[in-house]
Amino acid sequence: MGTKILYVLGALAAVLLVRNLYVILLGLPDEKDQGAIYRIIFFHLPAFFTAALCYLTALISSVVYLVRKSQRADDLALSATEVGLAFAAVNLVTGMIWARIIWGIWWTWDARLTWALITWLIYAGYLMLRRAIDDPSERAKNAAVLCIFAFASVLITWKSIDWWRTQHPGAVLSIRGAEGGLDPAMESMIYFNWLALLLLCIVLVAVRMRQERVQREIDALRRHAHAL
């Protein structure tokens, strides 16, 4: 992706985030039961959606790598996973802060929270696995296989509120069939903030992919310098 496009996307993300922040803090009223703290949902949910989309991208890229041995696909899987982990961390931490006020505790081992943490750890393990293998093709192949299996954890996290009785709230979005969920103005703000985070995510993934490409150039130059 061209540098100019990345700048434009980054600027769009920044403008949208500032606009969203203004509406979230000053445009929307407090929620009747939770008060001001409910506003955390405008980062908590979009961060999860962004991370899940990153993991899905990594899954598809890993399959493409295994089928075509495309180096770009491996780069995309790595970059999407790394960026996805950052957004998943936002999801976990904002959830804990919300829980401290609403539940009175930072953490509980309920199904949704536990699977979200397990998913984060599995993808962190993916990054560690990549560091542990020196041979580039072995590294890419092993990482791709792990990445494909890791996605099962994302699906379990996603469905955990339907499969188990959890302390975590059930579905609140109308697209998931929630009845009496969020007010439409609040729900639309979740999507607006998701769009902003998604734009930011695209920029970060593109930058990270470029770094991987340059890193390969460095490795090739090292071999060349060694041969001289």
Binding site: I37, R39, F43, V214, L228
Partner: protein, 53 residues
């Protein structure tokens, strides 16, 4: 409750920004390191090639 509620909302927003900003900083640091490495290698190769001629 209300003041605590607001304070924790602020912590929530702050933590989201700190995590994302932290990641951007690590990306920028890696970018700088990679650029320095590639510059050094190119200079080294040019030096080796010119000394061979």
């Amino acid at each position: 409750m209300d003041e605590r509620n607001l304070t924790y909302m602020f912590y929530g927003f702050l933590s989201a920004w700190v995590i994302l900003a932290g990641y951007v900083v690590t990306l920028a640091a890696r970018e700088g390191r990679i650029n320095r490495q590639i510059e050094n290698l190119r200079r080294m190769i040019e030096g080796k090639e010119s000394s061979k001629l």
